[in-house]
Symmetry: C3
Subunit: 429 residues, 3 copies
Amino acid sequence: MVAADEIADYFDRLWPLNRSLTGDGVRESLRILAELVPIEHTEVPSGASVFDWIVPPEWNVREAYVVTPRGDRILDFRENNLHLLGYSTSFEGKVTRGELEDHLYSLPAQPTAIPYVTSYYEPRWGFCLSQEQRDGLEDGDYRVVVDAEHRQGSLTIGEIYLPGETEREVLFSTYLCHPSLANNELSGPLVTAFLAREVSRMPQRRLSYRFVFVPETIGSLCLLHLRGEHLLKHLAAGYVVTCVGTDTPFTLKRSRRHASLADRAAVSVLRSARQGFIDLDFFPDGGSDERQYCSPGFNLPVASVMRAMYGTYPEYHTSLDNRDLISFSALSETVDLYSDIVAVLEANGSFQNLSPFGEPQLGRRGLYPTLGTAEATQETSATMWLLNMSDGEHDLLQVSEQSGHSVALLRTLADRCVASGLLDALPVP
Amino acid sequence: MVAADEIADYFDRLWPLNRSLTGDGVRESLRILAELVPIEHTEVPSGASVFDWIVPPEWNVREAYVVTPRGDRILDFRENNLHLLGYSTSFEGKVTRGELEDHLYSLPAQPTAIPYVTSYYEPRWGFCLSQEQRDGLEDGDYRVVVDAEHRQGSLTIGEIYLPGETEREVLFSTYLCHPSLANNELSGPLVTAFLAREVSRMPQRRLSYRFVFVPETIGSLCLLHLRGEHLLKHLAAGYVVTCVGTDTPFTLKRSRRHASLADRAAVSVLRSARQGFIDLDFFPDGGSDERQYCSPGFNLPVASVMRAMYGTYPEYHTSLDNRDLISFSALSETVDLYSDIVAVLEANGSFQNLSPFGEPQLGRRGLYPTLGTAEATQETSATMWLLNMSDGEHDLLQVSEQSGHSVALLRTLADRCVASGLLDALPVP
Amino acid sequence: MVAADEIADYFDRLWPLNRSLTGDGVRESLRILAELVPIEHTEVPSGASVFDWIVPPEWNVREAYVVTPRGDRILDFRENNLHLLGYSTSFEGKVTRGELEDHLYSLPAQPTAIPYVTSYYEPRWGFCLSQEQRDGLEDGDYRVVVDAEHRQGSLTIGEIYLPGETEREVLFSTYLCHPSLANNELSGPLVTAFLAREVSRMPQRRLSYRFVFVPETIGSLCLLHLRGEHLLKHLAAGYVVTCVGTDTPFTLKRSRRHASLADRAAVSVLRSARQGFIDLDFFPDGGSDERQYCSPGFNLPVASVMRAMYGTYPEYHTSLDNRDLISFSALSETVDLYSDIVAVLEANGSFQNLSPFGEPQLGRRGLYPTLGTAEATQETSATMWLLNMSDGEHDLLQVSEQSGHSVALLRTLADRCVASGLLDALPVP
């Protein structure tokens, strides 16, 4: 189990950086996370055509603030990067309070929260602030400084690829475009990076693993542009890792295929955790990069296991989604849960009963207690389910679902049966 | 919305006419309804072979009554055409009270109701009366007069055909063989005729519409004899319109196919009405002409949307099924409900996403709010569902079912997406 | 209905015999049951290879007992054959109480019960006794006598084959390897033999019937070795008859196919019995010979209808599963229930509507009341369901399930419709 403190340290280092679709904050964040497992960068140039989209110019901010009529500097980007509208254009000049108002964003219903607002594809300048602060603004002239650059740079994809025995691949995708926000979304990159470290330490991997850090939407589209064909061929299961920091029950958003391997493996782990979990069908009208992975042209087996989901908690997309909202032990627990999913995916497989006419004699092979009195042990029960359902049409996840035995136990016994010549492992499809 | 008064006027003119399987009462009823939309007549001669059946002789009644021993004229057909057994043979003569009793039909359990009784295929004469009246009959000789003609005439099919852009057809079938009865069955012909007028006024029709007025069973068999091959080829959806006059919840009797387009369109409208409705699977042992349309040789997509269904209300098939039982505003509401079904059938369609790899950029096409804060509007949500499910395997009804958005909204947005080059309309199958 | 007394008589004669996988007790039991219907014996020699198994040596016991230090003869096999470990090896000698303890089996949690223990495939000698008796054993030397023979003999299969009009076959399989035990398992052989007598007395059989009496597991494997190919080709439905003696609700353990003809026929009868029944999906990790019949290589349509199921009642596999636990009228009732299943299987069939376009005119054929008032009788309703669903894709069991009419009524009406030329009987598949 990853120590909560270790996660907290990384959180605190990443928190102040200004992340957005593009820019140096993203790259610096990746460099910090790469201390856990090396991360490869792929740069996609501004202006590149990606399916129906154009990669936006790169955005970097030098400074941004407002000076009040009394001479106080407020809304300083350096104090809280949420104060600046995401992708704000540059501006320097004097404006009246009335003119300024047209460029301010606040939340009347949550008067203490600074909202997180962006304008990626429509050029605007603006500032975000709490309703309380806004209400206290005096009349008079304000000096506005936004010194930001939009240049022909590039969008950065961070990628960790951990090869296994086969090219069958598992994808974890998270997004690194949110500035100082905690559950949504420093939690996703943190869990993904720590999970990658866990997977990198596995002594053996049947499957290959890809962990990607992209800006939301345009980033996953870039990834699909680069890796779509590969994923269509090799992807066994994938997950969008987002909103995983709160100490609240898990939520599964299923893939568009509803019962893909990604969905079944997640359900298997979430069920055996024996707490309830929220089980949602796929929906395309909200959410994150699963919308791209599950667009009809790709329809990849990509689900999402979350804690408090986007849009369902009041602090969402405001300055209240901060260090206080999340729990570092919850983050660690999420790393564990995804590790369990990895374990299920590794253990899963299909087998062919080589002795399918009647039950084989387990006793002769030391697979059955020799005395008739003994209650059939768990293992005997699991072995019998395994033999009965190993007809080439069921994988261990299905045996587990019908029998109630864990995939891990079934795999151990399946390997024993393979050694005894009772089962044959079918090739991974 | 059709005015309840207008329906009431037609009801009152139609009420006294003697309708049966055949005869002048049927033709006169059709002439009155044809004031709404012209109705074509097809006459099928008595004696014609129709599948397993023979068209019966035409039946017309000149007069029918009984004179009591005291000389009072009772059970006069002119007072209430229910008094005469349907298809009664002619008879003139004196009979004792005891002999008369063998020819009387009443309902001991409903002593004030005159039952509706017919004997189409077994020659008999008889009268129907309330149990109260029957109990008051004195001993003595009765003079009986039934002056009715069974002649080689014809059975009349009334038909309205309203062509649309394609030959794909929607059928509404009702029956005009019941005499003075209200819910079952002046309500069906009235709703059908008014619905036909609504459809005739539509500025544009994608589908073609057929409205038929037939006697029950033998009439729909005649129609299938004439139009069966055509319907097998072109029918998209059909409905038997019967028992639609009471101010009670709607009942859907599904087609034999259970989830045909007719069923799905009805469910979509009935659900969005947000009152509950009674959802019945198809049953062949009771009901109306859906039994013929859904016989195994045809198995057409024909359902039935009703209010108080045949056999489920105590006034059914008695003189108590009269003007007091029904509500003209309920009839108008039923016309509306069927119009909504027509609207859904017109709006439905399947589309192909032309930009299926990832989401297309809606903002660039003016299909998305440019500022990230705005709650995704209904329209954005509906557009995203539409794009995600437009893979050629789902029609708008299915998108509606999964997303909760109305078919009408989805169609509006689909047309907008077609104009934007994002979707292609697939040909109607 | 078979008289409970007659069953009781057979029970009492069979009770004391020592039955096991093999041996003279089995053969003597079969000779007694053969008084009801002749039973053919097939002997499979010891040492024969049967799939993954070897037929064990034949086991016969001459005597077995223990003499206490005081000289009392205890644990005498002649008093209760449960005292001897099943398939115990021979032994004669003096042992200390401590040495004896290693060869004793008792149930601390059920101190008055002698457990039923076997060691078929691991050579051992041993005795079974109540915990109470065990606790009272004094210290000192015990003389042990087990005079048992393991010889190259054979395993006996008892078989009754009752041919019918077609080779389509129904199998009833029970096991005769348990010594003095009542519900599990003299009840199964008794019900099977009496059921065979009922079936043998049927004036006509559409299907053929096979009743087999085998030792559990190895016996059904021998049967499958001999008849597997035949069963794969001809078996319509089969049942393992076990644990059918208690006066408790019925339990259905479904076949691995879940909705095979065997399952559907059983459900049809169990439902119409209108008491609840316990409906269990197939499970391979416990149970009886259905585990062999439903192994993936065979996957035969074999279910099991039981009363108090193995492993679910406290007396299971102990001396408390005796005459007091069961009810002879319950046994008779089980014979009846299986007879009803036979009746359903005999009555079932598929039909083709020869007049599928619209409803045929039933009245003309005397299949419909001629007067419109009459409530559609049960028969009319059933006839209409039958005609509507006779499209070659539904059998009578399915018509029964959808309509609620019994298979028996549907068959009577189907035969009537065949006589009227409305239906054609489809060949048994």
